[in-house]
């Protein structure tokens, strides 16, 4: 017999033995395998069902961000109660390191500097 044929027969014999071993698995092992498979599939169904929720959450997040951006981004409109100040300037003052007292007394400092010049 040719060497390749012997080799093929040898591999075939081992394959048959291994197949036979699968048929001879005990009931406890088969039951456990069955439970594992069902648990895995159950997790798959819940994962697939969650895609709808994920999609809805993503849309909701985008809408929320757009709404927040619309309301929170400062515009060039004038601040109510202070006709000389735009919203952008107001934000600048609020985020500046200088204290608010400095801006409240700003006119006084201007007057002081003008008098010093004189």
């Amino acid at each position: 017999m040719h060497e390749d044929q012997i080799d093929q027969q040898f591999v075939k014999g081992i394959k048959q033995e291994l197949d036979r071993s699968c048929q001879q698995l005990d009931a406890a092992t088969l039951s456990r395998l069955n439970r594992i498979r069902h648990a895995a599939l159950a997790s798959s169904v819940s994962l697939m069902g969650n895609w709808g929720n994920v999609f809805a959450s993503a849309i909701f997040s985008v809408v929320l961000m757009v709404v927040l951006a619309f309301y929170l981004v400062p515009s060039d409109e004038l601040v109510p109660g202070n006709p000389n100040l735009t919203e952008l300037e107001a934000m600048e003052i609020l985020s500046d390191e200088e204290s608010l007292d400095f801006y409240q007394d700003f006119e006084f400092y201007q007057w002081l500097s003008m008098n010093e010049d004189l």
Binding site: D7, F10, V11, I14, K15, E17, L18, R20, S21, C22, Q24, L25, T29, L30, R32, L33, I36, R37, A39, A40, L41, S43, S44, V45, L47, M48, G49
Partner: protein
């Protein structure tokens, strides 16, 4: 006007229900295909892991990990891809288990100062029989397990993937994350070793 609005609303609702119905059918079909696939694979996967670990419970844990990983990551892939992906995951889990058990054995021997016992434990199967003893008892399946377990892990897994699962050299290389040349070498060495041992016995 009212009726046209009503009609458009109704048709929209109808389309949505039809789409969600189609989606549910697709999920169900996918789930059934996945169940059939796992059902076809589970016994052989378990045996592969059992041969590699020599322990039933460890093998079941490995199969469980592999099934959950396939389902959670690749359930939406084409069913044609599942086989190779599953073999790849299972092989990875088996190799990880082997590494960890070696590490544990290393620590155990370090603490116990008994290297000989630890090395023995590493190669011992549940029956504690050598291949010759198993053959003499006429338990061919058990003996085959022992012989396969005697192979280095990668040789053993390459042999099982090629000879038993019928994967091509290229597919085996992908499942084992190695080159085709390595697969050829491992497969050839495994065959030679097994043939020699079987002839001896």
């Amino acid at each position: 006007m009212f009726y046209s609005c009503y009609d458009s609303l109704f048709s929209l609702e109808y389309d949505e229900s039809r789409n969600s119905g189609n989606q549910e059918i697709a999920i169900l079909e996918n789930s059934q295909a996945l169940e059939k696939f796992l059902s076809d694979m589970e016994r052989r996967a378990f045996r592969r892991a059992q041969i590699a670990t020599g322990n039933r419970d460890e093998a079941l844990d490995i199969v469980q990990d592999a099934m959950f990983a396939l389902v959670s990551k690749y359930a939406n892939k084409s069913p044609a891809d599942w086989k190779l992906l599953f073999h790849r995951i299972l092989t990875r889990r088996i190799i990880d288990w082997h590494r960890q058990s070696k590490l544990r054995a290393g620590f155990a021997s370090w603490f116990a100062h008994d290297n000989a016992d630890a090395e023995q434990a590493d190669y011992e199967d549940e029956t504690g029989l050598s291949p010759e003893q198993s053959w003499s008892l006429g338990e061919s399946l058990q003996a085959l397990d022992v012989l396969l377990r005697d192979l280095p892990l990668r040789q053993q897994q390459v042999f099982l993937l090629r000879a038993w699962e019928g994967l091509s050299e290229k597919e085996t290389a992908r499942a084992m994350s190695c080159t085709v040349g390595t697969v050829k070498t491992h497969y050839s060495r495994a065959r030679t070793y097994l043939r020699q041992r079987l002839q001896e016995t």
